[in-house]
Structure formats: C-alpha cells, structure tokens
Symmetry: C2
C-alpha cells in the first residue's frame, strides 16, 4: 500500500493537480500550504494546514501529526532572503548549517530534501504522483518548427543549459538567433511577458525551457501548462521547446488544443 502523501504546496496549478491525482487514485493526502503562495480556493474541503515559509519546526510537527509517509513538492515558492524568512529555531539551525546565502536554488532544494529525509519522510518527484505527465520527444500538436525555429531551439538549449549549470534559471527566449531574455528569479511568466516588448520584426521567438543539468528531480522540475501556451501566444512567440523526460506537462490535451488553436508549436527535445 502506498503511504499517505504530504503535498508541500506553493503557487501555480500544480498543487490542485496533485490533489486531483490523489483523489483519482483514492490515495490519502495532506496539504501543507505556504501562506501568500497557495491559492486558498484549492484548499476547500481539503485536509490541510497553512504555515509561513520560515516555520520549519511547525511544518515538521504538522506533517508528523497528519501521519504523512511520502512528501512531494508542488508549485513555486518565491525564494525569500533570510531577513524576510523570519526563520523559527528549527529553520535557523538548518540555515546556519547549510550556509543559505552561498546556495543556488537547486543546492538549497537538495538540502531541504535531505532535511526532510532526516525526519523520516520519503521525498518523491512530482512526476511519480502525476504519472505519465512528463513531456515526450517530438511535436505535441499539429504545428512543427521550421528551420529558423529549429535553429533558435538549438541555440536556446545551449544557452539554457549553461544558465542551469550556474543554477540561475531554466528558461530563455530566442528570436532569429538573438537572445531576447533570460530567466532568473522573476519566473517564466514574467520572462515571456517582458519579451513581448523586446520582440523584433519577422518570424517570432521561441521559449526554451530545460532542467538544470544537476537538477534535483524531486523538486522544481520545469513545468508548462495551458497558461504557458496562452502567454507565449500573447507575447508573439511561435512556439515552446521543453526537455523531454524532464518537464511536467500539466493537462497535455489542453496544451495541445491551445497550441493548435494559437498556431504555436510545442515540442519535446531529446535530453543531451
């Protein structure tokens, strides 16, 4: 029997999808929701508790009390500075040990996972809960990249991998060989919106999103959904390329329908 799942819930569509997946599989679950990140509407009739991000001691207590066995990360968290985090005693001890300021996002997440496992929880990847939601290789819908778009994708993968190696971000926008924008902490939605204003004439750009080379796969895998497609369409982009096997596609049927409707391509690229 699969144990009770603890969903550490942040922003975006992923927490709601996880809840639906648990219900569909008749699996017991408990949501630990981070205040100011989670959409409260998804918590109605859901077993949950809401805490602030810095309250690690309280978080561990709630997860233990709920009888959680496995834990999954779902959705984005705005990474706070130590000052704004107001860490409780448990969190402060953790940060003192790992040296918070020296770690990139990926290094930090790995340390958090180790801490959770030290408490006896098993941390699993979002893809293992959402089963079969990883991007396959090739075009998802009817539209496919032309030669210019294929060149932009190849260039974008090179740039995005290099950024990932630096643990900076996962996404870039390339148009006709020009790097229009690079994602740091602002997130992919903000990157896409900004690139609308930076757009050049002629064939539009491509959003390329890849996993960081040393990506902790149990947290923060690249994610796209219907909203990503509509944002790209509004920004005048021609398509989206993601890393096959390492990108969670939320609602693939919806993504394909939206992409076909907007005449955008969405493709999974072979991992290198």
């Amino acid at each position: 029997m699969v144990g009770k799942l603890g969903i550490l819930a942040g922003a975006g569509e992923l927490p709601r999808r996880m809840i639906e997946a648990c219900r569909a599989a008749d699996r017991e679950f408990f949501v630990l929701a981070f205040r100011d990140e989670v959409d409260p509407a998804i918590l109605t009739d859901v077993p949950h508790a809401t805490i602030r991000l810095g309250a690690a001691g309280e978080g561990f207590r709630l997860l233990h009390e709920a009888g959680v066995d496995e834990i999954v990360f779902a959705g984005g968290l705005k990474r706070p500075t130590v000052t704004s985090l107001r860490p409780d005693w448990r969190a402060a001890k953790f940060f003192a040990r790992i040296g918070y300021r020296a770690l990139g996002d990926n290094g930090l997440l790995s340390a958090v996972i180790e801490e959770l496992e030290g408490e006896g929880f098993k941390v699993v990847g979002a893809d293992s809960v959402l089963g079969g939601n990883l991007a396959p290789v090739g075009a998802f819908g009817r539209v496919t990249p032309d030669a210019q778009a294929a060149a932009d994708i190849a260039h974008g993968v090179t740039v995005a991998r290099a950024l990932g190696t630096l643990d900076i971000g996962q996404a870039v926008v390339i148009q006709q060989g020009i790097v229009l924008g690079v994602e740091a902490i602002e997130g992919t939605d903000a990157l896409i919106a900004r690139c609308a204003a930076l757009r050049r004439e002629g064939p539009g750009g491509v959003l390329v999103k890849v996993a960081k080379p040393a990506q902790e796969r149990r947290a923060d895998l690249p994610t796209i959904g219907v909203r990503t497609v509509s944002a790209c369409s509004e920004a005048g982009l021609r398509g989206i390329a993601v890393e096959a096997g390492s990108t969670i596609v939320i609602d693939r049927a919806g993504v394909v329908a939206a992409a076909d409707q907007a005449q955008l391509f969405v493709v999974g690229v072979e991992p290198s």
Copy 2:
C-alpha cells in the same frame, strides 16, 4: 596630427560626450547618426548625416565623403533582425558572408569592425577618445561595500563573466546571494527597473557589470553614468560594481556626487 574622427552614434549619453571631447581637443569630427537611436537634439550645429541601420553602402559613402580617417562606436543600437534591418546591397553581401544569425553581439561587432577596416578606416576604442574615463580599482565615492555586498559582488562577477562567455549580456543584479535578474537584449536600464519589483526584504542588491571575456574593446565596452546611479537608487539597490580598466565612466565627478548623495557605493573590481 590626429585624423578626422567619424562617430557612429547610437542611443544614450556617449555620442554627446564624444562630440564634447572632440570640441575640447579641437579635433575635426563627423557624426553618422542611426535613425531612431540618436537623440536628435545633440546633432544641432554638428556636422552629421542620419541613416537607417541597414544602409551600409550609404554609410560608407558618407564617411568617405566626409574625409573620415578614424572611427569610433558611441552608444547603443537595438540589434535588429535581418527582416527589420532591410539591408541594402552592401549590407546584404556582408550578412551573407558572416552568417548574421549565428553570431552573438560581440562576434557581430568584430565582423563590422573588420568590414570598416577593409574600407580603409581605423577603428579606435571609445576610451581612447574620452581619455581617462575608464573605471579605476576601488571605491569611487564615500560609501564602500560591507561584507554581504562584497559577497554579492563576487558572486555577480562569476555569473556575469559566464553570461559574457555566452555573449548574452554584461550585467546582473544580485541580492543576498540571490540572482534577481540577468541582462540579455533589454539593456541595463530595463534590468535595473525590473529588479525593483523583484527586490527581497533586508539589505538591497548590487548591480554588477563586466566586459565580456572575449569583448571587442573597440565597441560596446560596459558604460555607466549618473543615470545608472539614479536608476539603481530608485530600484533600491545598494551599489554598483564594474570591471576596472574595461568600463567607461561618463562624468565621473557627477557619478561620485550622485552616489554619495544616494548613499550608494560604486566600485571598480580588479579584472581577473
């Protein structure tokens, strides 16, 4: 005797500073201004012609007719796509040869410089005209970085150099170890403005700007001025770090006064 200087003028303060430097040195000059980039106000009573960026043949003719010997690049140009450039015959031939789409900014500028030298012009660096305007090592004004800021500067230099190696951009903003933003084609002003909204609580961030490792020093050296200081101050940043010996500081006295007034530090960092 120093020959007549052709100033290839784009956006920003640099073209006006170049004109002033020529007048102060009693040096003959001619401004070739790129339409939609140059502030037309600076062209009053100045020997000049205005052309569109794709009109290379006309540009060469104008420079030859004006009797120009040396050429200097001054100010930013929005890099266009081939479509929007509407290259004339001369430009089209050039782009066909170099493979425009495959080149980053730095590679493109190097190719343009080669082309100008093939026409018999000597291309010189902005620093050689503005003499003594390169950033020195150390703090410019009264404020100096504390330990957290020094750590952010060191991290920023690492990240910015890596981005430069990819020929993407020159600038990053780091706050308490977190990469708030990374410059691509939007330029440093837009990067700074965006980071105001991404700011975390606690000690503010630092703008770090360095030359690309393979930087063509006769074009596109990193530049800061009074406007950079006021933009950083408005965005809640604590200071600016630039690469000593490779960054043009426009109006250093004004920069120091503005930085002291805003309680910001401005420091030159040893090149690696």
